[in-house]
Point group: C2
Chain length 357, copies 2
C-alpha cells in the first residue's frame, strides 16, 4: 500500500530541481565544512572526518554517503529568500551542519546506537571519550565559524543557532525521559520532535536570511516554515522507522520497534480507542519488561506493526506529515521573496514528505 | 619542608583582600548563574544543581562547597580594569563558569573520575547520558547568556570565549592522548596545561574588560595575565596532586600518581639526568603495564613521590609556578587601569600560587 503522505507526489521535473538544490548546498558548503574540521587538533580531525564519512575507520578516503544535506540546501535558499546571494548563507550552512553532527555524535553515544548511515558510529570505532570530545569541538567550531563573519547579523545568527541548539538538547532530554515512561501523549511526542528535529531545520531555514540582513519578521516566518518542515520530516522518519525498506534506509527492519521508540505512529495508535489499540498496549507493556526483545522474530515485530496500523497510527502519522507540510507552506505566505526561491522552498518541502530514506 | 612556591607568602591583609574579592565574585555572579541554570528543562536543571553543589543526590538543598570561584572574581576585576563597574563583568563571569562546568562534567566522564569536591560526580549519580547532556546544555547556555547582552562588545566576548573553549577541548584531547604514551616532554605538558587551564583563566581575566569596551590590546594583555596565572595555578595543582594534604584538597593521597597522570613534576623529573630519574622511569614503565596499581600500598606511592622529588621534579615545578606568576604580573605592565584593580590582580595571583587546595 502506498502511504497517504506519498499520494501527493511531486512531478519528476520538481524532483530534479530538488536534487540540484541539494547538490548545490552540498557542493558549496562541503569545502568550507572540511576546512573548518581541518582546524581541529589531531586526533579530533580524523575522528570528525570518519564521522562525516570522508574517511573509513582505517583512515582511507571514501566517497561515502554524507547524508541528504537538506540543512545546507535550506541555509543557501534562506539567503536567497532575503534577496542575498546564496554564498551569504554558507557560514550558516556550515554552522548548522556542525551543530547537527555534534548532536548526532552525542546522541548515538547516549542512546547506545551502534550504526549510522550503514557504518559503525564514532563511539563504537574510536571510543566514548572521542565521541564526547569531538562532539564538543564541533559545537564550539559552529560558533567560531559564525562569529568570524564579524557582522551584527552574524551575532543575530549565532543567537538563533544557540536557541536552536538549546531546544535540540531539550528534545534529546525529553526523548531519553520517554524511554523510562510507560505512556507518552501525542502532544508530548510532537513537542519532543519539534525540539529535536524542528528547531534546527527552523534555524537552517532562517540563518541564511539573517546573515543576508533580513528583518526579524522575515526570519521568524522562515523559521516557522523550517520548524513545520522539520515536524513533517520527522513524521516521515517515524513512518520509515517502522515500515521503511531496510536496503534503502540503512536501518534494520522494524528499527524503531526494536529500539522500543515511542515514535508518532506508536503513540498515536496507543491514543486510539478499540481492540487493536488495547492489544498493542498490552503487548508493548509486556515488551517493556522483557530484555529479550532484541531476539524477537520478524513475525513478532510484524504483528506489532500490524496492530499499530490497525489502530490508525500509520494513517494518523501520514496525515500529520501532510498537515505539517501544509503549515510549513502557509508560513511563507506574506513573506516577500523572489518567486523562484519560493518555488524552491515549496519543492524542498514536497521532497521531505515524499522520500524513502 | 615548605615548598619553594610558598616562600613568597602574601601578607595577611592581602589574603583577607583576596577572600573579599572571591566572595564578591561569588555573591554577585551566583544568583545570575542560578537563574541561568533554572532555564534548563527538567531533569537537566536538577542534575546541574547537583553538579554545582546546590542540592544533594536526593534533591535536598545544601550549603555545599562550590569551589574557589577564582574565575568569577577575575571576570569582575577584569571589568574594573577597563574602568567599568564590576557588574558589567557578570555575564562574562557566568558564561565562563558555565563553560568551566561543562568541561568538568564531560572530563569527569571521559576520565572515569568518580569524585569531585568530596562528592560523587554527575555520571556516577545520574548516569553518563545526563553528564553528556547537561554538559552540552551548560555550554549552550554560556553562549546564550553572553549573546543576550546584545552589544558588539558581547559578540567580541563570545568570540573570545569560543576560542578559549576550543583550546580547553584541545587540552583535554592532549591530556587523553598522553595517557596512551610512554613519554611526554615538559614542553608538551605545558602546552596541554596552557590549553586546559590557561585558556579559560585567560578568558575570565579579559572578558569583563571586553564587555566594558576595552580595546583589543588591553584585552590581550589581561588575557596574557590570566594565561600565565592559569599555568601557575596548574603547576600548584600538580604539586598538590602529589603532595597535597588529602583532608584539605578533598582528593586521595598521591592522587595524581594513583591516576598515572603525567603531570609537571613527573615529566620534569623524567626529563632530568641521574640515578633517581632513571629509577623513576623504570618504575613508571613497569606501573604502566600493571593494572594492579590501584592496590599499591601508601609506601609504594611514597617511594615514587620521593624519587620525583629527588630527581628535582618538585623543585622545578615550584620554580615554574613562580616563573609563571612573575610572567602574569609582567603582562599587566603598560596597561592603564585603576591602581586598586592592579593591586587586586596582583593579590589574586599571589593567592593562586600560595594555596593548599
Amino acid at each position: 500500500m502506498t502511504p497517504a503522505h506519498e499520494q501527493q507526489v511531486a512531478a519528476p521535473e520538481a524532483r530534479d530541481g530538488v536534487t540540484a538544490l541539494l547538490e548545490r548546498g552540498r557542493t558549496m558548503s562541503t569545502p568550507v565544512l572540511r576546512a573548518a574540521v581541518d582546524r581541529l587538533a589531531p586526533p579530533m580531525n580524523t575522528v570528525a572526518a570518519y564521522h562525516f564519512g570522508w574517511i573509513d575507520a582505517t583512515g582511507r578516503p571514501t566517497d561515502g554517503d554524507s547524508g541528504k544535506a537538506v540543512r545546507p540546501a535550506l541555509a543557501l535558499m534562506s539567503a536567497e529568500a532575503a534577496g542575498a546571494a546564496p554564498e551569504v548563507g554558507i557560514p550558516g550552512a556550515v554552522a548548522v551542519e556542525l551543530v547537527h553532527n555534534f548532536s548526532l555524535l552525542h546522541d548515538d553515544l547516549m542512546d547506545g546506537d551502534e550504526q549510522r548511515r550503514h557504518r559503525d558510529t564514532v563511539w563504537k570505532v574510536h571510543g566514548p571519550a572521542q565521541a564526547i570530545l569531538v562532539g564538543d569541538a564541533l559545537f564550539a567550531l559552529a560558533n567560531e565559524i559564525l562569529l568570524e563573519v564579524g557582522t551584527t547579523d552574524a551575532r543575530r545568527a549565532t543567537k538563533r543557532l544557540t536557541t536552536a541548539t538549546r531546544k535540540l538538547i531539550d528534545g534529546q532530554a525529553q526523548d531519553i525521559s520517554f524511554e523510562h515512561r510507560e505512556r507518552v501523549t501525542v502532544k508530548e511526542c510532537l513537542e519532543m520532535e519539534g525540539n529535536k528535529t524542528g528547531a534546527l531545520l527552523a534555524c537552517a531555514s532562517s540563518i541564511g536570511a539573517v546573515l543576508g540582513g533580513a528583518d526579524d519578521a522575515t526570519a521568524d516566518a522562515l523559521e516557522a516554515y523550517g520548524y513545520h518542515l522539520g515536524l513533517a520530516f520527522q513524521a516521515v522518519d517515524d513512518l520509515l522507522g517502522i515500515w521503511g525498506e531496510p536496503a534503502v534506509t540503512g536501518k534494520q527492519t522494524w528499527s524503531d520497534l526494536r529500539q522500543r521508540k515511542k515514535s508518532l505512529p506508536v503513540v498515536a495508535a496507543l491514543a486510539a480507542k478499540g481492540a487493536a489499540a488495547e492489544r498493542l498496549a498490552e503487548l508493548l507493556a509486556a515488551d517493556a519488561k522483557n530484555p529479550e526483545i532484541g531476539d524477537f522474530s520478524e513475525e513478532e515485530f510484524a504483528d506489532r506493526a500490524a496492530l499499530i496500523e490497525e489502530a490508525g497510527g500509520r494513517e494518523w502519522t501520514s496525515q500529520e506529515a501532510r498537515r505539517q507540510h501544509a503549515t510549513a507552506l502557509d508560513a511563507l505566505r506574506g513573506v516577500a521573496m523572489p518567486e523562484e526561491t519560493r518555488q524552491n522552498l515549496f519543492a524542498l518541502a514536497d521532497f521531505v514528505v515524499v522520500r524513502e530514506r
